[in-house]
């Protein structure tokens, strides 16, 4: 009995040794050099594998960073400047300053401003609703409210507001990975430059119809009246396809366009209440007759 065990141990041991030697030589022969910096950079990345950088995952992006001559065009929106700075330090390069972005919804069609004209009781999936018909309202461009973007968000930065029936983006959590932009079948979500204190000014409408039909479908639709274009001193506003667009990189947040908009389709978000400029003037005029 003992004899058998010894023979087994020795023979298997020899077999293992033999295999190990072969494997060693094979490993030497087919050795692939991998830059050790890839792992270092990977460790610095957020490991979200969200695809926001345009690569398949964080490792893919790390490889691209190591291979790249400069960091031009490469950016991890999730990690932002700190992560890119760290990666640059590891690789001895300079990370260019990239403006952080944030997602905004270019539709403000709440049930009050955009009356429902039909009821959709099919599958709660925006893609299907979009393929099927113009939607529950008369606006064939606006939000369908079935939450494809919310399901696409891997960072918990979106939720559906049951009152407005529109998705809400939580600025602090949004990493501008662009998953929601791809998920929306109506292309309603745009990544815009993130400003100080999360301030935003943008046209919350995507209706490309002419003024009349757009207004009939939704009270807060952009009717392409060009008033905002005329008032803007910085050439930040353009009109294309009956729709105004504010370039976030040119906009100086002067807020002159907002009172001009007759439908209120331009939104100002996270601004302090306006200084009561108008009211003082009114006071002055009311005071004068008394004098």
């Amino acid at each position: 009995m003992g004899h058998t065990i010894i023979i087994t141990v020795i023979s298997l041991g020899l077999l293992a040794l033999f295999a190990a030697v072969i494997l060693y030589f094979i490993a030497q022969k087919f050795k692939i050099f991998e830059d050790p910096r890839i792992d270092e950079v990977l460790a610095a990345l957020p490991a979200a594998n969200c695809g926001g950088c345009g690569f398949a995952g964080c490792r893919n992006f790390a490889e691209a960073l190591v291979k790249a001559e400069t960091f031009e065009g490469l950016n991890c929106p999730v990690g932002g400047a700190s992560v890119m700075g760290e990666a640059a330090k590891i690789l001895g390069k300079v990370a260019p300053v990239v403006d952080p972005l944030v997602a905004v919804l270019k539709c403000n069609g709440t049930p009050e401003s955009r009356p429902r004209t039909s009821v959709y009781n099919g599958v709660p999936d925006c893609r299907i609703s979009h393929n099927l018909y113009i939607g529950e309202t008369d606006c064939s461009y606006g939000c369908l409210g079935k939450g494809d973007c919310v399901r696409a968000c891997a960072f918990g930065a979106m939720y559906m507001n049951n009152e407005t029936e529109l998705p809400v983006i939580i600025d602090d959590k949004c990493v501008s990975c662009g998953a929601c932009v791809k998920a929306c079948p109506r292309n309603l979500i745009e990544l815009r430059k993130k400003a100080k204190k999360d301030r935003k000014i943008y046209v919350a409408c995507s209706n490309c119809d002419k003024g009349g039909p757009a207004r009939r479908a939704c009270k807060v639709a952009c009717i392409a009246c060009t008033k905002c274009v005329k008032v803007c001193k910085f050439d930040a506003i353009t009109i294309e396809n009956n729709l105004a667009y504010i370039n976030a990189f040119k906009c100086t947040f002067c807020r002159k366009c907002i009172p001009e908009c007759p439908t209120g389709s331009i939104l100002e978000i996270n601004f302090p209440p306006r200084k009561p400029v108008v009211e003082t003037e009114v006071e002055a005029t009311t005071v004068n007759p008394d004098v």
Binding site: S118, G122, V123, I128, I134
Partner: protein, 443 residues
Amino acid sequence: MKTFPVGGVHPPENKLTAAIAIQHLPLPASVAIPVSQHIGEPAAVIVNKGDRVKTGQMIAQSKGFVSSNIHSSVSGTVNKIDTVIDTTGFRQTAVFIDTEGDEWIETIDRSDETPVEVILSPEEIVKKCLESGIVGLGGATFPSHVKLTVPAGKRCDTLIINGAECEPYLTSDHRLMLEKGKEILIGTTILMKALKVSKAIIGIENNKTHAIDHLTRLSSEFQGITVYPLKVKYPQGAEKQLIKALINREVPSGRLPLDVNTIVHNVGTAFAVYEAVQKNKPLFERVVTITGKSLLKPGNYFVRTGTPVRSLIDAAGGLPEDTGKVVSGGPMMGKALPNIDVPVVKGTSGIVLIPRSESERMEIQPCIRCAKCVSACALNLEPYLLMTLSEKGEFERAERERITDCMECGSCSYTCPAGRPLLDYIRLGKSTVIKMARKRVSN
């Protein structure tokens, strides 16, 4: 008795209006005639606001080969050219006409005679179909002149006339066969002449025995036309299933009936072709079934295109209280309308009012792998798989699984005990795959 061998379902027939004769719907006060009532390029509007038009006058001209002319269905003044939500559920250009009297263009033969002899040559027949805006009236609305032009290198030896009407509720083809049997047979002869074939088969499901008897009796006067009864099974009216059932030829995946030397036309189309060729009447009215379990006076009507669905419902006794959905087409393949001001178009075979109790969807539950959808599919597809692939965005794989073969008959969704929205997702996948394929071709 003949039928197709693979798949199929047996939904309750509910042919409530089978015994009700076709009436003429009173002319509506105004019509909205969409410029795209067919597959292919929308027609180009050739009238202006304020123009006087007569019934049958062309108001939009076909653009390109796969397109169709549109004719005014009433006489009156063009009120505006604007957009309207049509039966597809999307907005598109339409010509709005206010009705004033009913003055037809002089070229239309309005006598009661039914001329049997076909004088026109095959080329002239095709031209006439193009001029008269004839499209397939079975529902797909494919321009008929395209189907009558056999491309070089292809050959056609059998014409099939589709009188299956396998959709539940609908009886427009059934009534047409009973009341306009002779005209349909003359239309068939015209189609045979245009395609230069000597054999035509009319396939009718045997829940329409009167129509089968009637057409069989009449067809003895016409050479080369035979009438075949078919076993009732949905979707027998689908082109490929009908060809398989009648002449046992299988159209390969991704190919057309012409690849097995066959052409299929609907009985409604045969009637429209008769009217165009023998009576010079363009296609501006068709038979529409208005039906529903709660409807007071369901019926079959000759309806002018552009008539709002609302007037059709009013003629049938008004919208019942418990209406859940108003469906254009049959309950299996039809589409629920977003509102009832949608105009009737060339492809509208019926309007079905479905009570709320029957229109609600089942709760979506997980797939239980019962494979009922696979058994129901008449095209040998795997609907459960195609749905999952579309849902997860695996469109390349869906393409390999032949998602584009799906004819959207809805048998899978109908049969699913777990209430899964199989067809909804397959349709999504199919449209995405078609877009992908187009992009590939253009690149």
